[in-house]
């Protein structure tokens, strides 16, 4: 910390506050709209506070739509994708850093390449693939899709992280008679916890917010995830804006909570893994 003088801090605090207002204003508006009655949503001039604020939109949202079910589906898919992504990425990153140290960068290039394909082109082939495998309307299809999108960044981040764990630790474990797998599981993974947490958070967010794949790969309403449920609320003839905003907030809250709790791991991981490569 360089010279934390009070006047300087005060100035910085003002600038931060201004930036915060700009960044958070849309959320404030979401909350505001979700609490208003439908007539007031488009009142002109727009109202920033309303005497008629109520949780009515939330109540009717939960009453008319199976939000709890959508929430559960989102949770299952996101957690599933996170588990798959974390395990596969950890395995790959460990393998690369320990066995192919010079091969790591070309592999990362390959990973980046896989991210370059525009999503739109993937829609029809993915559908056909899942349909042929009989995986339509299943959690598995979505978990596979989301894991594949999260893997490039996850592997990249974990490569950096594993590289910072000295090889001597592996060797010490081997001296003690551990097999490669045991070394990996019992010794290295616990050390890599911040990196794994970061990867988990990142994958969870990606899976939680994704829409296109759930749109195309699920037709049964009982399998819809939150993002599909929210999109279906935007009719052309009528949009219940307060309910829509309420739903969007319900969808955003778990992610915010998760990130608040685990945020420092994210920073640690980036610090250790990404900064020095």
């Amino acid at each position: 910390m360089i010279r934390a003088r009070p006047e300087r801090q005060a100035v910085l605090a003002c600038v931060t506050l201004a930036a915060l207002v700009v960044v958070l204003f849309p959320f404030y508006w979401m909350v505001n709209t979700s609490l208003k009655p439908p007539d007031e949503v488009f009142a002109s001039p727009p109202t920033f506070f309303s005497a008629h604020w109520s949780l009515g939109a939330y109540a009717s949202l939960f009453a008319t739509k199976p939000i709890a079910r959508y929430f559960l589906n989102s949770l299952i898919v996101a957690i599933g994708a996170t588990l798959v992504s974390v395990s596969l990425a950890a395995l790959a990153a460990y393998g690369l850093t320990r066995f192919f140290p010079r091969g790591a960068t070309p592999f990362v290039m390959f990973l980046l390449f896989t991210k370059m394909l525009p999503e739109t082109l993937l829609i029809i082939p993915y559908f056909r693939l899942m349909s042929d495998l009989g995986l339509l309307n299943t959690y598995v299809a979505l978990i596979l899709a989301y894991s594949s999108f999260a893997l490039p960044f996850s592997v990249w981040m974990l490569i950096g992280f594993f590289r910072s764990i000295p090889r001597e630790i592996d060797e010490a474990a081997t001296m003690d008679g551990a097999t490669v797998l045991q070394t990996f599981r019992r010794v290295i993974l616990p050390l890599a916890r911040p990196g794994l947490t970061a990867v988990a958070l990142f994958t969870f967010l990606l899976a939680w917010n994704s829409y296109v794949w759930a749109l195309v790969l699920t037709t049964d309403s009982s399998m819809f995830v939150l993002s599909v449920g929210i999109a279906n609320m935007v009719g052309e003839y009528r949009v219940q804006w307060n309910e829509l905003m309420a739903a969007a907030l319900v969808a955003a809250v778990p992610v915010m909570i998760l990130y608040s709790l685990l945020e420092r791991h994210l920073v640690d991981a980036i610090t250790a893994g990404a900064v020095k490569g």
Binding site: A92, T105, P125, L151, I270
Partner: protein
């Protein structure tokens, strides 16, 4: 480059021996570890890529296909819409990424200098990134609405403008608006990366610079930036690749309008595939986009010497 075949369990007799891998002579372990991801991604990448290449060689009208070889590429590359879209993409990506990096770094410096409430502030500044891009875009769509939007209301109340501005109604302002929304969404992540980087810069370097009489700007230029160089390069690479592929914000806010003013390549691709129903041409555009991004990455990596590992 050792050419020794590893004696112990050298199943495949590889050409090279890993450096300190004496105890890990069994290379196949390495393959086993990497195989799941490699196979998975191959399936996920190779299958759709093959499908895309294949489709781009056909004139597709739903279930009726006719082989046209490179005909689609000729059509796409001779159509003004493609080149216009490429231009818009470059402008959009360039502005967005530049602003992401500048504002992300600025915010990180700001938060780094603050002595209080760091974690809550970090979470708060991360929130735009946590909301799905489509949801964020929908909210901004209504904030920018000419008659009922809050932005115009505030601007008029503050007497900055006298009449409602049609933000998304004209090509110039529409492009600025979608860039602004993309910046809102994308800055948090860069800020996080930069903040993490700032925290690893040893205080001694700053102290040494201060002792040498360096000004704040000089400290920034000669201490902060070099330390963050790798991170900046990596972050901007990922950002460029992501932004050039980005569809959601523009798709929701303007669908490429007005008059094609915000029609970036992913939007053109989507419109060609699902509005015009020309899947063959869409695949050709997609392949062109892919080649473009690939070419850029190779050049960028060479320029920034990303492929050379910094000493760990």
């Amino acid at each position: 480059m050792d050419d020794a075949t590893v004696a112990v369990g050298g199943f495949r007799g590889k050409r090279r021996k890993p450096r300190s891998a004496a105890a890990f002579g069994r290379r196949w372990y390495g393959y086993a570890f990497v195989a799941p991801v490699a196979l998975f991604l191959c399936a996920v990448v190779v299958v759709p890529l093959a499908h895309a290449f294949w489709t781009s060689l056909y004139r597709v009208r739903g279930l009726n296909t006719t082989f046209v070889g490179l005909g689609n590429y000729v059509r796409v590359l001779s159509d003004d819409a493609f080149w216009h879209s490429l231009g818009v993409s470059l402008v959009f990506t360039g502005c967005s990424v530049a602003l992401h990096m500048l504002l992300g770094l600025a915010l990180a410096l700001l938060l780094h200098a603050l002595a209080f409430a760091r974690t809550p502030l970090r979470i708060l500044f991360l929130t735009p990134w946590m909301v799905a891009p489509a949801v964020g875009a929908t909210i901004w769509l209504w904030l920018l609405e000419p008659q009922f939007g809050v932005v115009n209301y505030l601007l008029r109340a503050a007497h900055v403008v006298s009449a409602p501005v049609a933000w998304l109604g004209e090509p110039g302002t529409a492009l600025a608006a979608v860039v602004a929304v993309d910046v809102w969404r994308g800055v948090p992540f860069v800020m996080l990366l930069m903040l993490a980087g700032l925290q690893t810069i040893p205080a001694e370097q700053y102290e040494a610079a201060a002792i040498d009489g360096a000004s704040a700007w000089q400290r920034f230029r000669y201490v902060t930036l070099p330390n963050l160089r790798y991170l900046i390069v990596v972050a901007s690479t990922l950002d460029i690749i992501n932004t050039i592929r980005h569809y959601d914000i523009i798709g929701v806010m303007t669908a490429g309008g007005p008059a094609g003013g915000t029609e970036v390549l992913p939007v053109l691709l989507y419109n060609t595939a699902f509005r015009a129903n020309h899947f063959g041409e869409a695949a050709a555009i997609g392949v062109a986009l892919l080649v473009l991004v690939l070419a850029f990455s190779v050049v960028y990596v060479k320029l920034t010497r990303l492929d050379r590992q910094p000493s760990a």
